[in-house]
Structures are given as C-alpha cells and as structure tokens.
C-alpha cells in the first residue's frame, strides 16, 4: 500500500506518495496563497491522476494544516515530529536539524534526549522575511542569492524579530549601501536569529541537516550557516519534503482512498465562528457618499505644459518610497511622482528631474526642499536649498487643507507617525516602535500572498459583510490570525476588511495608545499612502466616530509640505537664485558610495560616504562631528552628564592588587549604580577587583548564545557578555549582586528592584558556563549596614568587624559618587543656561548609561545643540510626591520625581528611555506622561533595543526642538503684542 503525506506550511503545500520500501514515487510543491482547502483538493487531484485511486495510508502535517486535517478527517502529525521521523528513516546519524520554512524556524537536537526549538511568538518569519526584504530591495529571492556572492561587507541587522530587522535595513539602504552587501546582511541576520534565538546556549554540532524552502533554494544561506557553525551541513535530497514524508511514514496514518479525501474537502464548509465586526459600509449608496465627501479635499491642478516661470520642488525621501512634487507660484500642483525607491532613492529622483528638465524647459525651479529619512542625502545629491524634519513638512501640508488642524496621522509603508497640534505647535509625537508594524507595506505584502494587487485587495473590503476581528499587533501574529480565520470560514473580503480595521486599531491603540478617541482632537487630517485605501480610511472614521479629511494627495503630503516650505522660505529669505542642480550638472551627476573606517578616535566608526562628483559628499554613520569638520569635538562631558558618568565609572575599573585574590564584577544591570560601592567594599576586604568594560556589540555577541529568554530586555541580555568577558579573565570568583530591594530613598511605598535586576544572576548560574569559576550570587540589601556586614562576613568568610569596615567604606564611596553626579548635573544646568542651550533630561535607569544600551543618543542630542542630564541628578532635588500608580521601585520613582521637577523648569524637557521588553515601563511611561501633561509639558519617549534606528530617534528629537522653537517664537510674538 502506498503511503501518502501532506505538509501544509505557512506559505506552501507539499504532497508525497511513497512505497512500502520508503522510495518516493510522487511529490509536488506549490504555493497555496492561503487558499488551503482549495489547494489541497487540487493537489490531491493531480496526485490521484498520477498514482491512481488505490487505497493508501494518509496523514497530514504542517503548521497551517490543522484545519485541513479536520475538514478531511485525516490524522494530524505535528510537523517537528514528522521531520524527526523522516530524518530517522533517511539519515539515522543526524545530530541536528535546522529547518526554515515560510514563517517558522526550528532547530531539532536529536542526540541526548530530543530537544526542539521553534521560533516563539515574537520571532519573525524567515522565508517570508527574506521575501519581504527582496520586495523591499526590488529584487527576487534568487537575486538575493546571486548578489550575495559579490558582497564585501556585512552590516549588523537586528537578529531578533523580522519586523525589527526590516527597520534596520531601511536606513542602511537609504544611506546608499551596496545592494550586494545588503543581500548578504539579510542572510546573515537570518542565521544569527536562528542560532541566537533558537539554540539558546546549546551548541550546534555534529552532523547538521538543512531542510525547508529557504535553505534548499538559497545556497548562500547555507554558506553563512556553515560559516557561523564552523561545520559543513548537508542539504539532503528531497529536503523540501521531509515533513510530508515524515507524516507519510508516521504510524497511525488512516487507510482511505484519495478520492474520499477530495470528496470530504469538497463538502467542507468552515464553521463560520470567527469573530465578526460590523461591515464598513451598509450599502453602495453609503460608499458613494463617502467617496464624494473625500473627493472635496483636492489641490487645484495646473497643467505644467502651459506654465512658465518660478516653481517649487519638494522631495520626500521615505523609507520605501520616494515622493516628489512641483508646485506653481500660486500653490497649484503641476507634477507629482510616487515611486518605490527600490533601494536607490537617488536614482529615482534623478530620473524624475531629468524628465522634468527635458519636458518643461520654461519652468525654473525657484527653490527646493527635502524631507524624510533620506533628507540629507537628497539635499546633498541635488544641491537643494532647504531641508526640514518630516513632521514639520507633514504639518505644513496638512495646514493647507485644514488650517485649524489639531491632529495629523500619517500611515505610510513602514511607519506610522502621528502628532497632535496644540496652539499651532506640534506637541505630542507618536511614532510606531519597531515591533508594532502592521502598516501599509503589510497590507501590500498580504495582498500579494493572496495573488492580488493592493488596490484589488482594498476594494474587496468595501463589500465585506462580516469583517474578521484580527486584533491589533505585529505582522507575524497577523499571519497566523488570518490562517485561523480562514480555517473558520472567513471569506477573503472579510479578511481584507479585517486587516484594514486592524491597521487602524494598531495605530490607535498600540501607537497612539488612546482609550478615548475624542482625546485625539476633532480636526483630523489623515495622510500617507495607506489612507488612500478606502477601507482603512473608513475603518478609521468608524473607530473614531467622526469624519476626517483625507487629501487626495494623501500619499504625497510630505513632498507637498516640503514644496510649500521651499516656497515660504524663498519668500521669507528673498531667495533670488536657487542652488538646485542644473540640467547640465544633472546629466553629469556621478554617484559613488564608499565605506570607510574613521580613524579619528577609538570608536572607529564605519562611515558611509556618498559622493556626487567632486564637489559634494555626504558622510553618515559618524558618531561625532570630527570626520565632518576635522576638529575634535568639545570635551565630551561639558554638556553631557552621561559622558561624565561613564568617566567616573571608568575610574573604578582600575585594579588594585589584593591579598585575598581576584573577584570579577560584571558592569551590567544593578552594578551600574553600585559599582563604586562594591569595588571599594571588595578592595578594602583585600580583593583585586576585575570589572568588565562597557558593553559593545562584540561583547554582546560573545554572550548571546546562552540567553534563554529572547524577550527579556536588552540590558539583561548584555549580562551574558559581561560574564563571558570575566570568565576569560580567570578571576578566582565572579560576584553578581541579587536583591529584591534597592536603596531606600524614601520616595515611594517601597524600594524594590525589578525582578530582572533582582534575580538575573540565577539565569546566569543556570545557563552559562563559567569554566569552573565559582559564581557568587549575593542576596544582599543595602538597607542596613549591620545586616549587610553580617551577610558579607558569611558569604566571604571574613571577620564581622572587617566586613563592617568595608561596608562603611563602600557606602561613603557611593555617597561621594552620587554627590559628584549631582554637582556635575548642577554645573551642566548652569553652563547651559549661560549659553542658552536647551536641557534634556534623558530619563532612564542607571544602566542606560552604557553606551551600547543608549546607542549614543546622549551624544546625538548634544550634537543637535542641547545638553543632557540624567534623572538621578535632579530627582533628589524634589520632595516626596504622590503618583497614581504603585510607586515601589527605586529606579522608577526617580523618573517620576524627575518629571515632577522639570514641570517648573521651562528650559528643561524630559525624554524617557524605555528598554524594549521592560515590563515595568508599561506602568511608568503612562504615568510620566501624565505628570508632564498635567503641567502642559511635552512628553517624548524613545524605545531602545539591541539595535536602535537612530534615524527615527533623530527625527523625534528634531521635531521636539522644532516644536520648542516654535513655542518660543510664539511667546516672543505674544509678549510683543501684549
């Protein structure tokens, strides 16, 4: 009897038939476009045509196959289990299997007790991820493989979640990196993600087998795996069919004819029990009225053919697309272009300008401006007159349609931007954090997987009878949510509408975090290409319960705003001749990209140099102005308390010989605050202290493999690297402080540490190999000198009196250290006030001092012309106050205090640093915002993780400064008038 196996993966379906002796007689592999039941029927039919309709044993497997199994009444085999069965049959001496599928990644360890790792709910897909990246680069998956061959350099891309990696790639592309290098970087990111995220400390060794689509088709991916693992893995024959073959081979297959299965599928109807929402439109007439209403928000158009004279150019170089427009002296729209940048935005603008110069020689560009991610690149490349931060550009554009607009929401391909306008000034800004995507490109990708264009897909939603409730969250979740809905019988119309609704909900409840739509404002302008989708626009209006304005050029608003800005500035500055590139220059424009390492200091930044001929070049990737000006920057700590803190901490890294031996102290988590205390304590006990250095990318990667929970915060993950470093120094012991309690500053109801700071040492103990060096987890609290001395004397076998002396020395050092920070903070405030600099309180926790954790955001702010102080330098300046949440964590209480303190200081603004995955910050962010809000102050939040898109942070900071400037101007104007 033949054995038949079916494997329904997340994107493809495979069928196999095998003889009793396990030889393959039939196999088929196809994309199913989420039409699983139909595809199943079709593929079984072709199988029946090929092998006949004998009785067979049949079983089904695959992550998306449960529904089909139910429908057809065939047994379901879990897919990892199936893989193992196949491997055991065909390659019995396999040690490890790495299998990447459309959306899943798995590692199976077969030796010493089966151990399986699947990607968690957070880790993004892999095959789908590579496809998405290919789309982003405007190439095919095969191209990625081919181009990767010619790469010379690998960029670091976050290896956590696919969505995350995407936002890392974007700036790299926009900076003009070579596509060959990006291709390799994408593949390496997948490798890192699989190894770090899945292996979790277990070494991948022995005979390694590669399975699944991506590993079968992309040989460079196998190459990078081989390289990372230091082995030569095998991609066996039929590597695509292991799951299908495994299910065929599994015991418990059902004996039946293929025709019976087909029949069961034909009569199958979904249970229709998905959660339904109200339809978007009651009927056709409601839709027509809706369309007419929105048609009114149009810009007058003027045919450029008849126009002579001055015109204004605006360029919005976005993350995936580039938007350009040219307006007349009267603000009429003459020419627009909206195109994907295909990884080369310069080329897109070049071709637009060339055809413009060609077709309309009688029009002169009187002024030009750029905005968006590629703002600097465009300004340099085409010698534009102005550039402005994108939030401002959108605001200017929106005002054109609704002068008293009070809320703008822009949903683009990759990002969501919203801002509230208060008194004519941009106030709160919300950007989507890298994890909660679900924006326009998501709808696009989804439409494509269903074999539809984005427009067709959107149109389907209009007539949906019962939109599916898909919730709001990241792409990865959404895919499986959709699968579930399909299993439950939802139509493609309902899904399209459901997705549109979920995009809106994501924006409202995840990004803006509103609970009451009314608080957004009543005068709302929607922008961004995604709102051109009527279903999304309608969902938005329905969710808010009000009518909003969608300009017909919603997708071009950034460019339109930039053009208006150019026009306004030209008038204001009386600009006679624009610097914009001339047709002749344009013809000869040569664009070259080079990567060089800066040797200006020990940072050795990797610089990307975009050169345009000999005159203009743009350097990016630098962390200070030295490569630009050639001059050394001002003393690092003049305006930057973070830099000062780092200097102070460095002082404790010096070693002193001791009679009791060496002790390693990891500079991570709580140690960032307590380093002065513990070094002095141990030194006075006679230990030689070895302190691990500040974190670096390299240090992180060295410890990455032993991280057991991929969703824990980055500062905790770094601990592994520090322990790895210390182990390499061979101290006699390593000490990690553990404590439920932090220092009692009498500012809240209690003085806890967060669970991670409190007990992370236990994770190290359980998961990291310290090569026999004893790990001492000291459960100690700094509340009582005497008790602490007792504990120290027990833990380290020293006399109590000696311990007490050491504890006291530690405390006095800690006090001195804290005083220095306070004093320096006061000094920076004074100097800044003298020099009229804005002061930013970069509020986080002590370990945010680490340069690898804060990614140099402090330096960036200083570069933008402001000063930076820490939360702990001002928190003690204000007395105990009350907050609306449980205030029982020492570090967090300081943030509340800092927020309360600056309420009365006009020239200070608070920017909160939030670590991704920090559970407590779900509480603090809302509360800090509330404190600032109640005093009419702007709240800015920056989420940081192992890789942070500094470009986005920059936009946020620049918008903040622009808003502050506008506010100031207003006040000046007000005082003049009053």
């Amino acid at each position: 009897m033949l054995k038949v196996g079916i494997d329904v993966g997340s994107t493809t379906m495979k069928t196999v038939a095998m003889r009793e002796d396990n030889t393959l007689v039939y196999s088929d592999y196809q994309r199913h476009f989420s039409q699983i039941i139909e595809k199943g029927r079709e593929m079984l039919k072709s199988m029946m045509d090929a092998i006949g309709d004998e009785e067979v044993t049949i079983a089904l497997s695959g992550s998306a196959g449960m529904g089909l199994a139910e429908a057809a009444g065939i047994p379901f085999v879990q897919e990892v289990y199936a893989t193992r069965v196949a491997a055991k049959t065909f390659i019995p001496d396999t040690d490890t299997i790495i299998e990447l599928g459309g959306e899943d990644a798995k590692i199976l360890f077969l030796k010493n007790g089966l151990e399986v790792r699947m990607n968690g709910t957070c880790a993004g897909g892999t095959g789908a991820f590579i496809d998405q990246m290919a789309t982003l680069l405007g190439i095919s998956r095969d191209d990625i493989d081919r181009l990767s061959e010619q790469s010379t350099q690998i960029y670091t891309i976050a290896s956590r979640c696919g969505v995350f990696a995407k936002s890392d790639i974007q700036p790299i592309i926009n900076q003009g990196a070579r596509i060959e290098d990006v291709a390799s970087s994408v593949l390496v990111a997948v490798v890192n993600q699989t190894i770090a995220g899945l292996a979790q400390g277990r070494k991948i060794e022995g005979k390694v087998i590669y399975l699944g689509g991506p590993l079968t088709f992309i040989h460079r991916l196998r190459y990078f795996f081989d390289e990372a693992l230091g082995t030569k893995g095998i991609c066996p024959e039929n590597s695509l069919y292991y799951v299908a073959m495994g299910s065929a081979l599994s015991p418990g297959g059902k004996e039946m004819r293929i025709s019976e299965v087909i029949k069961a599928l034909e009569s199958y109807r979904g249970q229709n029990d998905f959660v339904k929402l109200e339809p978007l439109f009651k009927d056709e007439s409601e839709y027509q009225a809706f369309k007419e209403r929105h048609a009114k928000a149009a810009v007058p158009f003027r045919n450029p053919a008849g126009y002579t004279g001055r015109a204004y150019l605006g360029i919005d170089s976005g993350s995936t697309t580039i938007k350009m427009c040219i307006i007349s002296e009267n603000g009429e729209l003459m020419l627009t272009r909206y195109s994907p940048n295909n990884g080369n935005p310069v080329q897109a603008v070049h071709s637009f300008l060339a055809s413009f110069y060609d077709a309309y020689p009688s029009i002169t560009i009187a002024a030009s401006a750029s905005t968006g991610y590629g703002e600097d690149l465009m300004k340099t490349a085409f010698s534009l007159d102005y550039s402005l931060v994108e939030t401002e550009a959108h605001f200017i554009g929106a005002k054109h349609f609704m002068p008293d607009v009070d809320f703008i929401i822009d949903i683009g391909g990759q990002d969501i931007k919203c801002f509230r306008i208060r008194d004519g000034v941009i106030d709160d800004i919300f950007l989507n954090e890298a994890c909660s995507s679900g924006c326009g490109s998501f709808l696009q990708t989804f439409a494509n997987t269903l074999g539809k264009s984005a427009e067709e897909f959107a149109q389907l939603a209009i007539t949906a009878k019962a939109p599916v409730d898909l919730g709001s969250r990241c792409t990865v979740f959404m895919n499986s949510q959709v699968k579930q809905a399909q299993k439950d019988g939802a139509s493609i119309n309902d899904i399209s509408a459901g997705l549109a609704i979920s995009v809106v909900k994501n924006a409202l409840y995840k990004v803006i975090r509103t609970s009451n739509p009314e608080e957004l404002g009543r005068r709302i302008v929607t922008q961004g290409g995604t709102f051109l989708n009527d279903a999304v626009l309608r969902s938005f209006e329905k969710e808010l319960g009000l009518e909003v304005v969608r300009p017909q050029i919603a997708g071009l608003m950034g460019a339109f705003g930039a053009a208006l800005y150019a026009k306004m500035m030209a008038k204001r500055q009386d600009l006679r001749i624009s610097t914009t590139i001339s047709p002749e220059e344009l013809d000869e424009l040569k664009h070259t990209i080079k990567s060089v390492r800066c040797n200006g200091c020990t940072n050795h930044c990797m610089l990307t140099v975009n050169s345009f001929g000999t005159k203009r070049k743009l350097i990016s990737g630098n962390r200070c102005e030295k490569p630009l000006t050639g001059k050394a920057p001002a003393a690092a700590d003049r305006y930057d308390l973070y830099a000062y803190k780092q200097e102070l901490l460095k002082g404790y890294m010096e070693r002193k010989s001791g009679s009791r031996g060496t002790i390693g102290l990891p500079l991570a988590l709580g140690m960032y605050e307590l380093l002065p205390f513990y070094t002095v304590l141990f030194q006075s006990l006679g230990y030689d202290t070895i302190v691990s250095p500040f974190s670096s990318r390299d240090l992180y990667i060295k410890g990455q493999a032993s991280i057991p929970s991929d969703t824990v915060c980055f500062p905790a993950k770094l601990m592994h690297g520090h322990i790895e470093y210390l182990t390499g120094q061979h101290p006699d012991m390593i000490f990690i402080p553990c404590s439920s309690y932090n220092i009692n500053e009498d500012k809240g109801n209690n003085h806890f540490n967060c669970p991670v700071v409190a007990y992370y040492g236990e994770v190290i103990k359980g998961n990291q190999d310290t090569e026999g060096i004893p790990l001492i987890l000291g459960y100690l609290s700094l509340e009582s000198e005497k008790h602490l001395a007792k504990r120290i004397s027990e833990l380290f076998n020293v006399k109590k009196s000696e311990a007490l002396k050491a504890v006291r020395a530690g405390f006095s050092e800690l006090q001195a250290y804290r005083k220095k920070i306070m004093d320096k903070g006061a000094e920076i405030i004074r100097v800044s006030r003298e020099e009229n600099r804005q002061i930013i309180v970069l509020a986080g926790r002590p370990y945010h001092t680490d340069p690898e954790i804060n990614h140099g955001i402090d330096r960036m702010i200083v570069q933008l012309g402001a000063s930076v102080i820490t939360e702990d330098s001002i928190a003690p300046l204000i007395g105990k106050g009350s907050v609306h949440v449980l205030n029982q964590w020492t570090y967090h209480a300081r943030m509340y205090d800092a927020a309360r303190y600056i309420a009365g200081e006009k020239d200070m603004n608070l920017v909160q640093l939030v670590s991704f995955g920090c559970g407590l910050d779900a509480v603090t962010t809302d509360e800090v915002r509330e404190i600032l809000r109640s005093e009419d102050r702007i709240y800015t939040q920056i989420k940081i993780d192992e890789i942070t898109n500094l470009g986005a942070v920059r936009i946020r900071m620049r918008s903040l400064f622009a808003a502050l400037e506008m506010e100031e101007e207003k006040e000046k104007a007000g005082s003049r008038n009053g």
Binding site: M66, Q481, K483, P708, T711, P755, V756, Y759
Partner: protein
C-alpha cells in the same frame, strides 16, 4: 483620582461584588463563604472576545496579559449588565511584591476612571491591610473558612484531575465536584463541620468519594501545568488548556494553590535572613504559622494516601528542597522559586511533560520559568517542557501546535514504555 470607598452602607444595601473567577473549583466553594458573611459575590465567567477588546482599550498594551484580561473582564461584565454598574464593587488581588502584578489594583482604578466608571469602588484583596475599605473586612472566622476552602479546593482539584480522564461514566467526576461544593457550602453556612477534627474526616471522605468513581485506568500521557498563577488556573487565561489536554487524552496535574500561599508566607522568613529588619514576622511565621499550616497540609496528604492509585501533592517542605536544587529561595517575585520547584516536583512524580504557561514578557518568568529550563533539562534529560506565551494576539493555532509537539514526544515515550 480619588479612591472610591466600599462603605458599610453599600454592603448592607446589597451591592454586588464582581470577582473574576480564576479557578472554578476553588472559587465556587469560596463563593458561599462570601454569601454567608453578608456579601453578594458575582463570579465573572464572561469570556467573549470583547473581554480582550476592553482590556486592550483601557490597559497599557504592554502590561501583562492577566492584568488585561481581568480588567477587561470586569469592564465587559459591567457593560453587559452582569453586575449593576450603579450598585456594585469590584475586587482584585494585590500581592504587594516586587512584580508589576502589584499594580493591578491601581491600573484597575485608572481603567475604570477612563471608562467612565470611576464611581465603582475597588476592593483590594490582600492580607497586608493595604488600601482598606470599611465595608469589606475579612474577619477571622471568614479567614479560617477561606483557608479551609483552599485546602478542600486543592484536594478536590487534585483528585478530580486524576479521576476524570479514566472515568467510565462521563460526568461522574464533575458531579462529584458539584456534590462537595454543596456539602462544604452548607458547612460554611452553619459555620460548623469544616475545621479541626471534622476537617480530617471531610478530607478523608472526599478522597474516598473520588476513589469510588468507577474508572478504567489505561496508561495515558501525564502532563503537568505550571506557570504564572492566573495563566495556570484560569480557563479564560489559558484558553482552557486543561480541557484541550484532556481532549488529547492526557491526565493533567495542576499543583495546588496552597503552595503559592505558603510560598508567600515563607518569603518573609527568607527576607529576614537575607536582608534583615523583619524579625518579628519571621519568628512568628517560622515557629508558629508554618508549623500549624503544615499540620493541615499533612491531613490532606493522608487523605490522598488512603488510595494507592492517587498521587499526592508535595509538601511545602519538599517543595523548598526541590527548588533549592536549582534556584535560590531569595528569588521571590511573582511565582519565584516556587515555579521552578513545581517543575521539579512534577518531573519527580512522573509528570515530566510540562506546559509552562506565562504571559508574554512576564518578568519573573524570564528567570524562574524559561531561565530554569536548561538546568532542569540537564538534570533530567527525559523531561519534556514546553513554555507557552499568552498574550492578546497569540493565536490558539500556534499555541496548540507547540503543545502538540510536546505531546507527540510524550506519546512516543509512552509507547516505548508500554
């Protein structure tokens, strides 16, 4: 934001008190205690998707899932009129530890305020006397009753889980649970027959009763469930994990709730040892509290041991020892070391297939759950542990798929053993 107080008048006027039902067996027994003391409890069972919607709307989306669910369930119940919004109060637990779960009380108040329900008093259920309400005080007899109800509930849960999968007449076990819920409720109403000598008798009778249910014991996959307390017990939280596992033909073991209570009590003792300053509490707990509690624990254990087919739960002393093999008992936020200890217990008892449930991004679970799986695996290579994250948009398909893998391995092992 002013705290709305639950007054004596409200109690007398018969205000309803909405209580999210975390564990049906336990809470159904306890409900009667509330009634007997003049309260009008309403156990919330509403579980439609609107619960999650309300949660997402009024709670920060990165907050832990139980918080979202419980608050969502309460607001949804009010919207649906399950309780009268003008004449009700709501209750929420407050453990007072360093885990962010201690914030639920405040977040619930914030959420009610934002939902325009700020007039509803919130009662904090805790034993430390935090945020007291004049109309709600747990009197000593009530405390004793609640404590015994916990012991009874644990025993009933333990035994019913070991009988249900094997029962010959479907429904016997659940009927037995109902029977004892009524008997115990009546005892509480009369305020007699449930403590000391009677307690021992009752516990034995429960054990005998469950043993009398006709069963056919065939080898089944035995699965233990551990994790964050709400995720572990609540059907709403874990999408009826127990039901799913039983449908997959497994026997499910849920560690008793008493362990968590004792764990909370014992933490003060450890705190004193490590950090000092809590001498009186530690002394009383160590020398009076814990010994008394362990007597009751012993009765329960003896009741189980009357029938050799039943597995008993580990005593707290044993749990402490199990935990210490892998993690320091100073680790006390959330479920802390107890979670690790329970996994050890389950493995030792033959429930080596374990689902470790946690809310997505649960802080203590990074350490005591996921962080301990590797050392456990090294010590017990045959253990088969699958951590499952729950959050508002984790799909059932995904979760069940992972559990099914764990089951496939477990079934294979079961076959080998046969």
């Amino acid at each position: 934001m002013d705290k709305k107080v639950f007054t004596k008048e409200m109690k007398d006027e018969g205000y309803q008190i909405a209580i999210p039902n975390m564990s049906p067996v336990h809470f159904n027994i306890m409900k009667r205690i509330f009634i007997n003391h003049g309260y009008k409890p309403v156990l919330l069972e509403n579980s439609s998707p609107s619960v999650i919607q309300e949660g997402l709307r009024y709670v920060h989306n990165d907050m832990c899932y139980p918080c979202l669910l419980v608050i969502g369930q309460i607001i949804d119940a009010i919207n649906r009129g399950i309780v009268n919004k003008d004449r009700c109060a709501v209750i929420i637990s407050q453990t007072g530890g360093g885990c962010r779960a201690s914030n639920y009380y405040f977040l619930l108040m914030k959420a009610l305020e934002r939902a325009g329900l700020g007039n509803i008093p919130v009662i904090s259920a805790n034993l430390q006397g935090m945020n007291a309400n004049p109309g709600f005080n747990i009197s000593f007899p009530m405390l004793v009753q609640a404590f015994t109800a916990l012991v009874y509930g644990d025993l009933i849960m333990l035994l019913s889980n070991q009988v249900r999968p094997y029962e010959i007449n479907k429904g016997d076990t659940d009927r037995m649970i109902d029977k004892w819920t009524v008997i115990l409720g009546d005892c509480y109403e009369k305020n007699r027959g449930y403590f000391w000598g009677n307690m021992k008798k009752k516990l034995n009778a429960i054990s005998d009763d469950f043993a009398s249910i006709p069963v056919k014991r065939t080898p089944k996959v035995k699965v233990g469930v551990v994790g964050e307390i709400y995720m572990k017990y609540s059907r709403l939280g874990n999408s009826d994990l127990q039901g799913f596992l039983e449908k997959e033909d497994c026997e499910v073991m849920l560690p008793p709730m008493m362990g968590f209570v004792l764990y909370c009590f014992s933490n003060g003792i450890k705190d004193e040892e490590y950090y000092g300053g809590r001498m009186k509490y530690a002394f009383v707990m160590k020398h009076i509290g814990m010994p008394i509690l362990s007597i009751v624990e012993k009765w329960s254990e003896e009741a189980v041991l009357r029938h050799p087919e039943f597995n008993r739960a580990a005593s707290f002393k044993e749990l402490e020892e199990y935990g210490e093999r892998f993690i320091d008992r100073g680790c006390k936020m959330g479920e802390g070391w107890l979670l690790t200890a329970e996994m050890v217990e389950l493995i030792e008892k033959g429930y080596g297939n374990i689902v470790c449930t946690q809310p997505f991004g649960c802080l203590p679970n990074h350490i005591c759950g996921k962080g301990m799986i590797r050392p456990l695996k090294e010590a017990y290579p045959d253990s088969n542990i699958v951590p499952i994250d729950y959050d508002p948009s984790a799909t059932k398909v995904n979760q069940e798929n992972r559990i099914k893998l764990m089951l496939a391995v477990a079934k294979e092992k079961l076959e080998e053993e046969k």
